[in-house]
């Protein structure tokens, strides 16, 4: 045997490298394959738009029941829990004028307007800061203007909550399921550690339904394509005076208020 230690180490090193390389190749081989012939398509019933937007006619909403009915409709279909503490989760909620339209400096607003409740939800901004700050692309803007989340990717860093100028996002500090009275079996819940918000009912548009809050509003909330001059939202905006939340910061909200 004339193998020197040096030769032995060389051969041992090479063998280890070969083993490693073959395992790596095996792993690459095992990459999942799509079933040949399978395809993905847009469902036949889906509603399409270039830019979805919402118009809330605040003149048609008055009583507490009006708001409760709309909020319940959303929170029921989307399994939004009611947590009675500061850790509450909200997709759509109400607040008073000076906390909603903070840009408005009018000192002598009519008391009726100032004292009224206004419905609030995610504005599905044209330039959404929440999308810019999300490090994982869990929050993203779709081609039709809807800003949605992929909860599978959310790491719970809450940058988006800091980035959103409208407080439209809520964080799940704990498991939300104990706070759900009944669960809609057709929609998922969320888990501890993710952020959630209004989806503009993208999952309902996909199957040809209008948002749940729109359906429950008896015509007080309109929904449609902002790029289509004949859509109900464009018609309502053409005929009425409307405002948006914090227009000066340039986010271009997609939710308009007729006051």
């Amino acid at each position: 045997m004339s193998t020197t230690r040096r030769q032995f180490l060389k051969i041992a090193g090479l063998s280890v490298f070969g083993l490693g390389a073959s395992t790596a190749l095996d792993a690459a081989d095992a990459v999942a394959k799509d079933m040949p012939g399978a395809k993905y398509e847009v469902g036949g019933k889906h509603l399409a738009a270039k830019r979805w937007a919402m118009v809330i006619d605040t003149r048609k909403l008055e009583s507490r029941e009006d708001y409760a009915r709309i909020i319940d409709a959303c929170h029921k279909v989307h399994n939004v829990p009611s947590i009675p503490t500061k850790q509450e989760i909200k997709w759509i909620w109400t607040d008073k004028y000076d906390r909603v339209f903070t840009d408005d400096m009018s000192q002598h607003l009519s008391p009726a307007v100032r004292e009224k409740d206004y419905l609030l939800l995610c504005n599905h901004c044209e330039n959404p800061p929440c999308v810019r700050v999300c490090p994982t692309k869990a929050t993203f803007k779709r081609a039709d203007g809807i800003v949605v989340m992929d909860y599978h990717r959310c790491i719970g860093c809450r940058f988006c909550m800091a980035g959103c100028p409208y407080g439209a996002r809520s964080f799940n500090f704990g498991d939300p399921r104990p706070y759900l009275k009944e669960v809609n079996p057709a929609f998922p819940t969320r888990m501890r550690g993710v952020v959630e918000k209004c989806t503009f009912c993208s999952e309902r548009l996909e199957v040809g339904l209008l948002p749940a809050c729109v359906e429950a509003s008896n015509g007080a909330i309109l929904f449609g394509d902002l790029d289509d001059p004949n859509s109900p939202v464009r018609k309502a905006l053409a005929e009425n005076f409307s405002i948006r939340r914090k227009p000066s910061i340039g986010t271009q909200p997609g939710v308009y208020y007729i006051v």
């Binding site: 999942a32 469902g43 779709r142 199957v207």
Partner: protein
């Protein structure tokens, strides 16, 4: 041998411990493929069973991105049938018995996917 009375028992013990996975595997009962409760009245899944067994997580992964990011919620299977892309409303409609279908295989393979932390498991199942 120099210090043989220590070295040889040491080697024996080392080899014994080192090969533990092999002989403990020989001594324990063989892995048996779990008996799954298949949906009654359904003959075929969206794709062949072999493919589903190996790649269902891959399908779900692509389904999520197609539905959520591309807005494509219809899956045209390789046999031409069209399915709604939804774990809760398509997969679990047939596989309503999660405990005897999903869980059985996952448990015997020691994997614990967290699908059901968010997705609602079918009722009539606990």
């Amino acid at each position: 041998m120099y210090n043989g009375k220590y070295i040889i028992p040491g080697i024996v013990i080392f080899v014994g411990l080192f090969t533990f996975p092999f002989w403990s595997n020989l001594l324990t009962p063989k892995y048996e493929r779990p008996q799954l409760a298949l949906p009654a009245g359904q003959k075929e899944c969206i794709e062949p069973a072999e493919y589903m067994r190996a790649e269902h997580m891959h399908i779900l992964d692509v389904w999520r991105d197609q539905a959520l990011r591309e807005g494509k919620r219809a899956y045209v299977a390789s046999n031409g049938k069209v399915w709604d892309i939804s774990l809760q409303n398509t997969c679990m409609k047939c596989h309503a018995n999660k405990a005897d279908f999903c869980d059985k295989c996952h448990n015997s393979n020691s994997v614990s996917p967290y699908c059901w932390d968010c997705h609602v498991a079918p009722r009539g199942n606990q």
